[in-house]
Structures are given as C-alpha cells and as structure tokens.
C-alpha cells in the first residue's frame, strides 16, 4: 500500500502552521510534539501507521472553520478523524497533514421527541446518541459493531451500517441534516429537521464521502421508538448452501427480521472455543432476530422455524428468555475478538447478491487453500454484506502481503458476482487500489469531479478512495 510522499515545503512550515492554529484554538487543542502526535498515527487498520505533522481537537464549528481556513491558506492537507475506529484506514494520516479530530465535540444540542430527531455534535459516539434518548424509550438505529467507540462523524463519513440495518437502514437512511465546514472554512447547513431535499440531494453525497468533501460538525439524526422486545432463534445447518436457501425463503415469506447473521464452520469453532456459547457442531449457523410484543415475537419466530424445518436443520434453538438470547448472540458478538485471539486477521467487507452466497463461500474456500491462509466467514446474510476474516501471522515475513493479495481476490470475486468492494466499512486506503475493478475510468472521473466541487485543491483526505495514479493530477494541483 502506497501513500504519497510528504510535501517537504509543508513540513518546513510546521512551526508557522502550529502557531497559526494556536492563535485560533485553546492551547491544549493543538498537538505538534512528535511524542504526542503518535497517538494519531493510525486508526483500527493498524497495519499502516504514520504520525501526522500536527493534530488539532477543536470544540466548536467555528473553530473547525478557523482551522480549515488556515490549512486552506497554507495548502496543508487535512485528514478528518472521528474516533479512529475505521477498519479501512479512513483516518490514516500523512506526515505532512493536520489531523482534525472531532472527539471534543460530543454535546447533544437538541432532542425533539415530537418530531423524532436529535441534533448532536459529530464527535458524539454512536451508542451515546441512543443513550441520550433512552429514557424516553427512543434509540438511534444504525449499529456498527464499534458503536461503543465510533463517532457519528465517522458513521456519516463511511455511511456505516450494522447488524440491524436489514430493517432500519444504514446511516444515510437515518440522517436528516448536517452542519458541515468546507475546506475553505465556509460553514454550510444541509438538510434539517424535515424530510427530503427540494434541490439536489447534497446530503446524500456528503454521507459516505469519507471526509473528502467537508468536515461534518453537527448532525440531525432520526430517532425511533424502541421496540417492545426482541428475541433471536439460532438455526444450524450441515451446509452453507442450505443455510443460504433458508435465508432466501425467510425473506420471500414476508417476515422481515431485524437481523439475519450467518457464521461458517471455521468461525463457529473459533467462537465456540472462545466464548463457550454452546453452538452445535455444524457447517453453518444462522441467528435470526425479530422484534415486537411478546405475542408478535412468538408469531414471527414460529413462522421462521416452520420455514427452517423444511431445510432439515441440524439444530434449531428458539430463545425463551433474555439469558438465552444473550447466549445465542454471545458467540457472534465475540467473533472478531475470538479470531484475534488465535491469529492476526484482516476483516473484509464486500457485499454480494444473496443468491450468490453458496458460490462465493465455495470460492473463498478455494482461495483459502490456494493462499494457505485460514478464512472464517461471519456476515449480515439478509443484505449480503460479507465479513470474511482472513487469518495470518504479522510476525511472519510476507504473510501480510499474502493476506492482502488474497483479500483483493475475494473482493474482486464479490464484484464479479454482481456485488461491491465494501458494504459498510468504506474504501479508505484499504480498497482504494481496487476501485478500478468496480468502476470504469469515467465512473471514477465523475466521482472525482464531485470532490472538485467541494474541495478544488484536493486538500481534504486526498490520498483515500481513489487510486493514487487516478487522482494524481488533481492532488498535484
């Protein structure tokens, strides 16, 4: 993975830029000591690290605007950062950049239950948005696995999803408006407390633009009344194909579960060893969760079980209590941690048409054999969002490169069967160089033209999303 060479002229201006930033920010909000900037050297894609030139932690939209004006004037690249939980390297710095962290901006600005919305500063964590409206029995629906730590700013940048988005949608479907600061410091309000846009849907392109169009400082989010209850059923099968067919049948039957999670044998075994969730011996495991009142839950679970029985499951376990629900979810929720205990791993995020599931799992198995690397699959089956975890040994020379090569092959496979490179993590640097596998030159050109509109000098997170060779002439300008 290649990053652009730092601009030596910018590095020479470090003291000048830091002084200018100190003039507009509280003293402790500017970090330029190299022992401290190291804290910002990577996000959750830890294989790649590079301390930034300076990190700043503004507290208000106006301060963000002041910072961006300075960086714009001085021609310094800016890498926005939420909580640094990106698995795609979205917040990876370059040595000549200013990291703009929104961590200090975590206030709730408005809760409006009548209109079912909340306005927050963008550094607020995903889970604490729900926390702020919990006492009125509301919640914020998108639930990325990192929700305890990840910031709304990052959720908006990556258009984050989660296990429950089969029913509730992803960030873009739950975002009503933003306050955003453009690279030149201009503050823009887009959307609001109302639905839909009268003009072009600018909010729609902001969401998922990976911090390349502007820095979102405030967000208006849709909140929903909490369901009365939720309960899962666990269904075990002796083949991936049958599990896949069962998923399609559940969806076709008109039951719309809030989550359908799928785990294959390697993951089931690792999770079982780690969490002792009591998962059976099987090839594929589904966890299907439904919501509603007690009667509604039972009714839906009965329908799902009737469908599942037709596929001769190895085991079918309906949760009858909160404790049983927790046990069923325990293995799934500890999947990443469990794999982390046995190996280093790379978590992919390609999405495929649900119908291609058996074929893709079979071919991933073949790739696993070819590369000699173990792979476990855990994913959101209802929407085809795969999470193959490729295991490798970071201490073994060449293993990371081997893992990346295999990862690229898996993602190309996702594209080949009609899917895409990333369903919820974002492109960042991780899938940047594969973008030409999914998009034609013109398709990438029009996306880059959108960035030209917002950030003509290509200073905001410039080395992400688009292959460096493709964006080179723009970045140089």
């Amino acid at each position: 993975m290649e990053m652009p060479q730092p601009n030596s002229e910018i590095l020479l201006k470090k003291a000048k830029v830091a002084a200018a930033l100190r003039a507009v920010l509280p003293h402790d909000a500017v970090i330029d000591d190299s022992s401290e900037t190291r804290a910002y050297e990577c996000d959750a894609l830890t294989a790649y690290r590079c301390p930034p030139m300076i990190a700043v932690l503004p507290s208000t939209t106006q301060q963000v605007s002041d910072v961006l004006k300075i960086c714009h004037r001085e021609g310094v690249p800016v890498v926005p950062r939420g909580s640094g939980t990106s698995l795609a390297g979205g917040a990876l710095p370059t040595a000549d950049c200013v990291i703009l962290g929104v961590a200090k901006m975590s206030q709730v600005l408005e809760t409006d239950y009548e209109n079912r919305l909340i306005r927050v500063q963008s550094g607020r964590t995903n889970l604490s948005v729900s926390g702020a409206v919990e006492e009125e029995d509301f919640f914020y629906a998108p639930d990325p696995s990192s929700q305890l730590a990840c910031a709304i700013a990052g959720n908006i940048a990556m258009n984050s999803g989660g296990a429950h988005c089969l029913k509730y949608g992803v960030t873009t479907n739950n975002l009503l408006g933003v306050t955003m600061v453009m690279m030149d410091g201009e503050i823009v309000e887009i959307g609001g407390g109302h639905l839909d846009s009268s003009g072009l849907d600018i909010l729609g392109i902001i969401c998922g633009s990976e911090g390349q169009l502007g820095v979102v400082t405030e967000a208006i989010l849709r909140i929903l009344p909490k369901p009365e209850g939720a309960r899962p059923v666990m269904i075990a099968f002796d083949s991936n194909e049958v599990a896949g067919a069962c998923v399609a049948d559940i969806i076709k039957a008109g039951v719309l579960p809030v989550a359908i999670e799928f785990m294959d044998r390697p993951i089931i075994e690792i999770c079982e060893n780690f969490a002792k969730a009591g998962y059976p011996e099987c090839e594929a495991l589904l966890i299907v969760e439904v919501e509603g009142s007690e009667t509604e839950i039972q009714d839906q679970l009965d329908r799902i079980c009737t469908i599942a029985q037709k596929h001769n499951p190895v085991e079918l376990r309906q949760s009858q209590s909160d404790a049983e629900s927790a046990a069923i979810w325990l293995g799934r929720k500890s999947a990443f941690g469990a794999v982390g205990q046995v190996a280093d791993y790379m978590c992919l995020d390609g999405t495929i048409p649900v119908s291609a599931l058996p074929e893709v799992l079979r071919r991933i198995k073949e790739l696993s054999k070819y590369y000699g690397l173990r792979v476990g699959n855990v994913f959101h089956a209802g929407d085809g969002n795969m999470h193959p975890l490729i295991m490798f040994d970071a201490n073994k020379e060449g293993d990371l490169e081997l893992c990346e090569a295999m990862g690229a092959d898996v993602l190309r496979l996702c594209v080949e069967v009609g899917g895409c490179l990333t369903g919820e993590h974002g492109v960042g640097i991780e899938k940047r160089d594969l973008m030409e596998d999914q998009y034609s030159a013109s398709d990438l050109e029009i996306q880059m033209a959108v960035k030209d509109v917002f950030d003509p000098g290509w200073l905001l997170n410039p080395a992400k999303v688009f292959p460096l060779s493709v964006s080179e002439s723009r970045r140089a300008s």
Binding site: E114, V188, T351, G418, C420, Y439
Partner: protein, 389 residues
Amino acid sequence: MSAPLFPQDEAELSAAIIDAAGPLQILGGGTRTIGRISEGQKLSTAQLKGIVLYEPGALTLVAKTGTSIADIVTALAAENQKLAFEPMDHRIMLGTEGTPTLGGVMAANVSGPRRIQVGAARDFALGVSFVDGSGRFLKNGGRVMKNVTGYDLVKLMAGSWGTLGVLSEVALKVLPVSETQATLKIHVSYWDNAVACMSAALGTPFDVSGAATVRDAAGGLGVIIRVEGFEASIRYRMTELRARLAKFGETEEISDPWAEVKDLPAWAPLDTVWKVSVRPTDALNVIAMMKELQKDYGFSCQLDWGGGLMWLGLDAKQARDLPACIQVHTALQGAVAQLGGHATLMKSDILSEQDIPHFQPLSRPVEMITQTLRGKFDPRGILNPGRMN
C-alpha cells in the same frame, strides 16, 4: 421543433445527447409537470424498457427507466412484493396523461405515505446507470443492499429531475407485501391536536406506516393511522394504539383510505397546489400563516408523514388575484426558509407563467455547490435547464 427522440438503448441515448444542438426536455412518461418545463427538443426514456433482473429472495429488482411503474408493480405482486415507498401517481392531482415510469419516479424522488416509516424512493435506489450532459455513460452503486464503495451518486441522481443526467437503469430494493393492514381514524378538533396525535402514534413502538389527516364530508378533521403486518400483530397494535390515542378524539377503525392520501383525487379541481416539507410541529406555524394570509378566502390543507408533508391548495375562488397569489407563494417559501424545509409549487393556472421560483430557493452556499455540480455533470447546460429554478 424537431420530433421527440426515443432512444432504444444507452448507446442511442448517449448519441442523442452528444448530438443535441440545444436544450433537451427530458421525459419519462411526462406525467409530472412540476417545475418550469424547459423549451427544447423532447428526449424520452419511454423506449428503454424492461425488467432486467428480479430476485425475490434478494429483494432486488433492476429495470430500465422507461419501464412503467404498473409493469413493475405487477411483476412484484406476482411474488407478493411491493415498492415500499408507494410512489404517488401525479396524474390524478395534476390532471396529466401518460404512463408513470421508473425513471420519472426516481428523477423526482417520488414517495407516498409510507415514506414516514420506510424511507423515500431515494432510500430504495441501490444503483443507477445514466448518461450525463457530455454523453458519458456512467454507473454508480450496484444491486446489493449495502454499498459504500465510492461516493453515493445514486442519492444525488434521485430527485435531480433529469438535470444531471438521463437515467437509463435503476436497481431497486423491494419489500414483501404485508399480510394485512388496518387503519385507525381519530376524530380531532384542531390542527394542533392532529399533529400531536400523529406524533404520539409515531412515538409508539407499533410500527406505524402511515399518519395523515383527512376531511370527512361534513368538513370534520380526522387523523388516520395505518399499521401493516400479520393479522394477530395488527389486532394487538390496533388495540394498543386505540387506547393511547383515545385522548385526542373519538376513534374508529375504517377501511383503507390511503389511495386518496397518496394520489389526492380531491385536489384535482384546485387551481394552485403547494407541497411543503417541514418538521411536523412546524406545520402548525405554516397553517397559522396561511390562515392569516387567506383569512377572507380560505385554503385547503392535508398533512401526511405525521405533519412533515403538507399539501396546501387554493381553488379558483381562493386564488383571487395574481398579486395576492404571488404574495402567498413568496410568504410560504419565506416562512419555510426560516423554519427549515421546502415549499414547491406543484401546479397553478394563475402562477405558472410568473417569474417565481417553483422550487424552494437554496441558501447561498448550497446554491453555489448546486451550480458547480451541475457544471460538472452537464457543462453545456442542456439537460432540463431551469427545471429546478
């Protein structure tokens, strides 16, 4: 004016745009005569037809944009599925003719009452193919439910009224048809009561899929609340909702009234109609302003989306003279600008030829972004120029 163009495929569409000597009027079925219709040669997507792929088990349908909504609905119904955002058929209210198409629905981001629960047309668009103003054939998104690969131009294209490119193909997320549905009507006395009642209903965990107001024959105001799902669940939720909403007025279960809410047949005779989107509770401010402006003549009002969507209308008598109508239009867009939201002129005999913005004027920075974006997608400014102001 030369004959309308009907490209048969994307190559012909691209050629038609490259060869265009002047402005083009982009059409699907031509049923949504909203905004200022541009002069220029007509370019219709009507011959880009057909369902390309339909996987009921994956809740995915891909079709060419000239495919009629009716054909799509029929294909979906055969598998017991639906377009969950229930797009409005504008022909009924606007008095237009033609066949609503997938392209038109997406280009105008047309949704119906269920938008409040499941999202708008744009939320169900998974991918688009289109030809931009330079004749480039472009794709964005795909056919899978979750996709964050690159910028989301799918959302940008939805609701762009053909001004950024001509859509040729759209991939949609579809949903199963509910086993059954039921509607509760609450007889309320005032608008503030109506909005409070809808907010209360939408604040329950009972998955309300419609919250609108209706007028009965005697002019009485009612709120209607819809729930959908399996029979046993519907019974439970209706009982709970009835208990919680009784404080707003007398309740009764009524038969399906939602076609009237969605397509507004009662609004066909009106001279002037606006569509307004605001925070639901702000609808009350807009109503108060309209009452003041129209105190001698009256106006029509219907709320949908819990109050977040307002339909405001004037009949020929209420639209009493041109200066007064322009004043109402300007005041409406001005008030909505203050509150946050937008007001769009949907139809008007009296106002349509006036030099007024049919769509809500944008803030200065958003207008700048919009114009620069248009320049990138349509550098010659030939695609539906002026349609969105």
